[in-house]
Symmetry: D2
Subunit: 342 residues, 4 copies
């Protein structure tokens, strides 16, 4: 193993998923694991599925504990990453799984997060145009949000070749782990099983400006995004249903060709054969992305749908994939395209 | 009890839900129950939740068995209702829970169902403009599809007052009972639990022309509809997320006012207080519809969301409500706005 | 309506289910609804499925608020009922849905609940021998625990006729609503979906002495009980699998006969036809109990299995049924044997 | 890679899980994949989660197709393995994931399976006393049933040291994948979600004699088993709750010591720290077994509970583990103790 990695926020869902992946990563040794309210507890009590780490004990998230690692992953609440990152020095690779450094526009940050903008780091969605180049050798990585990962991969190929109008509608269903491990009444099993419900409707969800940023970059013009997230009765997975009016001259063939070209060489994004549609179960636990696209001639619309595992490709898998690029490892190291199903 | 009702197709999910409702309907006596492949079986083996009917035995679906009833409900596969209805005579109230008589445009029927159009009956969605008048005294009722019920109730108020552009995007999640009781591999519990997946994407779902019909009537102009149904890991419920570009001059207030006006006097449609959003769990087993609407100024869009129970208001409840109107009973007879939750 | 009922603890799952039932009870008018931390909130925000009560506001649980009712239901945390009941006067029917007055043996109470024993009230499981007589005219009712309801109804017929050895093994699976609405990490949807797990293993669950009390009374000798509760990934329902060694001379016929006799005239307990087994889905939302029993000759054991809805027959339905008896209403008033399925 | 493996029955759940494991097994190259009704289909359509094999096409299950492999895994319906195995020659390692060669007693086979007994092969549950020695170098392996795996690992340590009476009660909850991929009405998602139900009650389930065989061997006397399987609303996992009367002199300490000794050196069986109980979610997708045990002094019973993934350790993982032993690979090759959670 060639690098030693610390995980700040190891007791939550993102931290747990990251550890699941790092345990099988050939180039990574797992170093310090930290928590705040959970410091001092055995990991076996908090993450009982990570048997090889059961006897590890969480330490507090301090500069001393995080010092001496080659990589530090931050799985912290939004707004806390900047202060920790500052103390880590410029030679440590810091991978922020929070939102702090994703947005380029400070005004967007302030509007959606209500605090001062900390800055912008290279964006960890390697499949976007130019993203890999920015990640190579970088010592700072902003891991994308789970919804923007799903939605951007569904729609950017259409915008990249200019076949869709800049007015996207995105409706996404997420498993409950996306809402985190802090107990809240509406996240109780009794409430979520058997129920679909929306939240953050009307452009107020914090992932909206991130989608706009990604799709506008691909389109070369400002794309408006109507984004509606919904909570689905499953632990993991995002299904993003995305549509935009087709520009004149679009055909089913031109749509298909755009997606085939975009994903011909991508190791993790799988454009399904025509007629087969994504299912979140198929990417459960894997870093794969299933994508399918259709052209609805009667409605004049492109419909692109993606399925990801929100914790894997949507968070921890995307983090590892980006780390691999930044450190010069093979991009697929420690990552799998094999789901756990049924 | 003033009328005697037969149910053709009593072994399926729609038939079972209808019986659940008729068992507590003060004006209805349950008469013949028929099936085809299940004729001769005890209902207790097929619908074990309907304890009071456990010892009833299914009869074959024949004119002789269905004769002598005041009302005949048809819960048959698409395309079979016309032949049965013809044999029942003009004085019997025939309530078709299938698709056969929903569409006005014969070409739409032929395109989406691939057979000859049987005709058009009064449409059993009383909340639509003019629908109650057409149902009163009618001896024939076409019960709407479950998705069109959810989507039409979410969006028609916006079209009725002319505040939305005629280009609707509808993404709906349905519980698995909407796919029926015939065993198919993709409907196995092992496949659906933990998974969200789309189907019928790109304008090919049969409920699409029905939505277009309803929304166009409300708008007074042809509305195109991009409809994407998704299968959700729950037995019941539809959550319909619907959006259309707002016409110039639209404000959050004008949107709210349109919905308040549309639903001020409706017994089953509940426009939620601002800030509260629908959840399918809240209408589980009830005939209620939860609706909420938002205006996303940045995207220039109206977003309207509804939750229904696909088997209740979406099928059997809608059928009973329409029957009540046709027969002059109080519209709420035998129907409830109380869900079973959690 | 002939009585006015208050519900203390209207914001929780037991309180919500009780209101669902009282809303359709022909003899009950719903009076004050109280909560503690939720006092002042609209019920529509807390119990969005109870549409007819959406605009009711919760009041604090005080003697003043609860005064002036014929019936007061207490859905309070264990240990709080005695103090409230004392203030209500001897002419008010107090129905305690908590544990405080279930146990006859003060030492059991102290061992399992760790506080002083408040006393013993008539026990609200009418199907047990002698229970109805004790409930008639009573002004105090102790509603049983959900697990003891399921297990006692599964096993007491075997003990009542002396065909089972006094050493019962009970393994029960419960939906998550049994654990209440207070948010705890292990009850998050992310944790419970896809998982079965036991808790309170080894005789430490508080419902154990209540089962011993019921089964011993039926047997006329002390029955030991090994009880293991498990948490199942569903919102509602209890499936209790119960077994005891058969006494010499037992046959499949004698077992069947004992259960047929016990439940021949019970309105809510349905002994299934031979070969059909209970399912919690079949009693979802209903007050029915499905029971089936088998004699395993090779193992020399009687296996009795019951399914109930933990919130209905297991809590609020049992409360209403007992209230009906106490007040002289028809026992089935406001209660249904029709489940909501699928 | 040192061996080439064929999988007969690659379209089902057991076959799919096996391929998931073999894809990451360092010593195995995946050879022919066969099906019967599905021959000719792309694996990507049948097992969409196995992305690296998406373009493989199923072949028919014939001797010609299976020839030329070092290992042949049989995931066939019960009763079909013997005929296929005969054609494979004595030098090929045949791993039967069906039931055909599990039972030693021909009369048991005939009683429970209704056909002639094919024989007995070394039993693929390495944790049982003597099992590893029988597997080493063997060319035939009978993979245990999923329930016997869970139950035997929960209870055999108690029997091996003679602290439990030979009268075991086993109640187990299984995810639906245990029932296979053939579509049947009672396995529909609509039926299983939200429902717990028993089946095969009263000693008639085919896994009963296998449990008796394992526990009797450990006890050195005939153990009777009362086994009740239940279907739980989850895709994967078995939770087995097992109990037996303790022999005189048993203490909590002696119980704990027996389990600590039995599992001190087992790579896949994890005896949890005292106070922590198994959960199927913790072993989702892993080959790990979580075990916990308690002594209920009041009931005089040992209660042992295990959680496994029915498709992994319960079927395909157990098959790979046994293959590793038979072929002299490190036992843990290609297997993980890390679950996918939440």
């Amino acid at each position: 193993m060639t690098v030693r990695a610390a995980v700040a926020g190891a007791s939550g869902y993102a931290g747990g998923e990251l550890l699941r992946l790092l345990l099988v990563h050939a180039e990574v040794e797992i170093g310090a694991l930290t928590g705040n309210s959970n410091a001092g507890q055995r990991l076996g009590a908090l993450q009982p599925h990570l048997l090889p780490l059961a006897d590890r004990v969480l330490e507090p998230t301090t500069p001393e504990v995080l010092a001496g690692h080659d990589v530090v992953f931050l799985a912290l609440p939004h707004g806390q990453s900047a202060a920790v990152a500052e103390q880590l020095g410029p030679d440590v690779l810091v991978v922020d799984m929070g939102a702090d450094f994703r947005l380029k526009n400070a005004a967007d940050w302030e509007k959606f997060y209500g605090s001062a903008h900390a800055g912008t780091w290279p964006y960890g969605l390697p499949e976007l145009p130019g993203a890999r180049a920015a990640l190579e050798g970088s010592k700072r990585i902003a891991v994308p949000g789970c919804y923007p990962t799903a939605a951007s991969l569904a729609l950017f190929p259409a915008y990249a070749v200019g076949l869709a109008e800049p007015d996207a509608v995105i409706v996404a269903a997420s498993g409950t782990s996306g809402a985190g491990k802090a107990p809240k009444p509406h996240l109780l099993g009794s409430e979520v099983m058997g129920s679909m419900s929306p939240y953050g409707v009307g452009g107020v969800h914090r992932h909206t400006p991130e989608m706009i940023q990604n799709l506008s970059a691909a389109a070369g013009e400002t794309v408006t995004v109507s984004f509606t997230p919904t909570l689905a009765p499953m632990p993991r997975g995002i299904l993003a249903t995305c549509t935009a009016k087709a520009k004149p001259g679009t055909t089913a063939e031109s749509v298909r060709a755009a997606y085939e070209k975009a994903y011909a060489d991508e190791p993790f994004v799988h454009l399904l054969p025509e007629g087969q549609w994504p299912a979140t179960a198929s990417v459960y636990g894997s870093n794969a992305v299933q994508v399918q696209v259709a052209y609805d001639e009667a409605a004049g619309r492109v419909i692109a749908i993606s399925a990801i595992d929100n914790l894997a490709k949507g968070t921890a898998g995307g983090a590892v994939q980006s780390m691999n690029i930044a450190l010069g490892f093979a991009e697929e190291t420690g990552l799998s395209t094999i789901g756990v199903a049924p």
